[in-house]
Symmetry: C2
DNA sequence: CCTCGATGTTGAAACGTTTTAACGACTGAG
DNA sequence: CTCAGTCGTTAAAACGTTTCAACATCGAGG
């Protein structure tokens, strides 16, 4: 471990004061070119690396924002993150990604750490409905892909109820009257909303509530989708739904996989609709019908709102985007 | 903006000294239960959040490590990250993810920032071959999925040459003698190594070097795979390769997509082998033959090596795992 | 009654920056 | 020759913690 060269070592080595070195680092224009050269040379020679902790402690501001993501393995979130990063970077900030992996405990730990780090702001797609966890602690927080219930934060969301409605309406129009909704746990708001939308579609079409069966999963990963598929296959074909609406594309892909594995045809034996329209949806075994969300915009907007929080007369805003149904082979009309 | 309550406010409010508050935070056992309660109450009441910058400045250590990833949208890397995070968390560290998005500039910026932040250590899957960028700057660095050329860092890698060899040998055994290698840019070492392995397979089989055509792409994303597919389709079928080895699964999925879109059959018109065996490979339009890497272990091992760097008598180590071919429908034997 | 060790608490000195007000040296105008 | 204004540089005071040696207090053992 090197004895850690500091700004004063550089100063001494270049024959100037600490203040001048600091100026070279932060306001290069204010220091005479000759001196600047000398200082830069010293920095280079000593291998000086500015200590961000000290800088931040004194200067009071940080140069990073963070995004606590629900599941880093879900391409939907990495796409959102990408949008957020682009916006952040344009404003001169770096973005750190944290993965809560749908675990409320982890989420809490990360949020706590980020608050302590005094990052400039935090984006978060929370695990559970209670945004109580996400209390105001001095650092601006923006909710992503989730509407702020109590108005204590800005939020950027997509109308998930509408999304669910679009999906199931589409299935109904294709002649399905026995439909499964695959998703869970219901503690995740996105799942609840999409379910609600699905029910609304039934009502609109004059179908009974029990036309839709909820097949609750423990998570939103591919493996859970496969599990749901096995449960579906286990049903006698007379009672088996003819269509499934999945709360996200990972579930849908898993479902698809177990169907083809068991020799059932999609969409003939089971029509499938996913959610998010991730890039892999189009490349799936059967190209997946899905509800598309404006991922990039979601991220960009979230970052913008976050960075606007420091403005003097800030009012919390709630932006809501509209989803869009993308029809592909997995939900072709019933014969 | 709250006037930011500090440790001394808490101390004053609880009628103790700063030192005691600090003790409550860091060595709860050393302070009398009654006092501890009083301090905790004060913390709660004032909404105190410890300032990590100050803590780190004084204490000299950080509680986070970071992973600078080549492409956060590639599930391969998020899986590696997951392994690294698990290992880190077991050792009491948090993991921050940074996305270089295959951009050397971004990578450099993130590394610089992380050095300045004095994180406990950095994992990185570097963009280009020159690990010169990743100079020693006082913070331990471990190379992930890339072998350290000059031995200045620990590294954890998978034998990519062998992987390429496995893939192409498999194709040759299935009767293919006109093979395309899809991948790029060649500045990425993984691509070069896999290419080298592919060539070696030719040699082993006694095939001429020109049995393998390199179809260089600008990146390793799905879209690039689609592009490569279009280029392949443009060839007269007499000269078109009968098999393609893709440098990763994203490319393979894109390739697959453009094939089916143009009505070409996989594997009949074109056999396809991918690399990484990401979860989506098995769920693809045609289940993808792929070279599997031990993603989770890669991450776990990398984190372990990183955390071991602080040991007094540390020697840089280079761990190399073996890849494994997973055969699926996309490369079924030639008729 | 004195001494000793154990137990809790504390004052003050760091940690490495940024920032502010002040300083001296010039320059050109009056 | 003075004065005002620039320009470049600097000393010193923060920023909010952790840590360390020192200090009370108290009960037990002699």
């Amino acid at each position: 471990m090197k004895p850690s060269v500091g700004i004063r070592d550089v100063a001494h080595h270049a024959g100037v004061s600490n203040a001048t070195v600091s100026n070279v680092l932060n306001r290069p224009d204010v220091v005479a070119p000759a001196t600047r050269q000398r200082v830069l040379a010293a920095i280079e020679e000593l291998g000086f690396v500015r200590n961000e902790s000290a800088r931040q402690l004194r200067a009071g501001r940080s140069r990073v924002i963070a995004y606590v993501v629900l599941d880093a393995a879900n391409p939907f979130f990495t796409d959102v993150a990408r949008g957020a990063e682009d916006a952040a970077r344009e404003a001169g900030f770096a973005l750190f990604l944290c993965n809560s992996a749908s675990d409320a405990g982890r989420e809490h730990e990360y949020l706590e750490l980020l608050h302590e780090q005094r990052v400039e702001g935090i984006l978060v797609t929370p695990v559970d409905g209670e945004s109580a966890q996400i209390a105001e602690r001095g650092t601006p927080v923006v909710l992503v892909d989730r509407e702020s219930t109590d108005g204590t934060h800005c939020s950027v969301a997509v109308d998930d109820v509408l999304g669910g409605e679009l999906a199931v309406t589409h299935l109904i129009e294709n002649g399905h009257t026995r439909i499964a909704m695959v998703g869970g746990p219901l503690s995740i708001q996105q799942v609840r909303d999409r379910y609600e939308g699905a029910m609304r579609a039934l009502t609109n079409a004059g179908l009974p509530q029990d036309a839709l069966t909820l097949l609750e999963t423990r998570g939103l990963q591919v493996a859970e989708g496969r599990g749901a598929g096995e449960r579906l296959i286990g049903l006698p074909s007379s009672r088996r739904p003819t269509a499934a609406f999945c709360a996200n594309d990972l579930l849908a892909l898993g479902l698809l996989q177990s169907m083809t594995q068991q020799g059932l045809k999609v969409p003939d034996d089971l029509a499938v609709v996913g959610y998010d329209d991730i890039e892999f949806a189009a490349a799936a075994a059967v190209p997946l019908t899905s509800v598309r969300q404006p991922r990039d915009q979601l991220g960009r907007t979230a970052a913008s709102l976050l960075l606007a929080e420091n403005e003097p007369d800030h009012e919390h805003r709630h932006v809501k985007f509209q989803p869009e149904l993308v029809v592909r082979a997995s939900s072709a009309a019933k014969r």
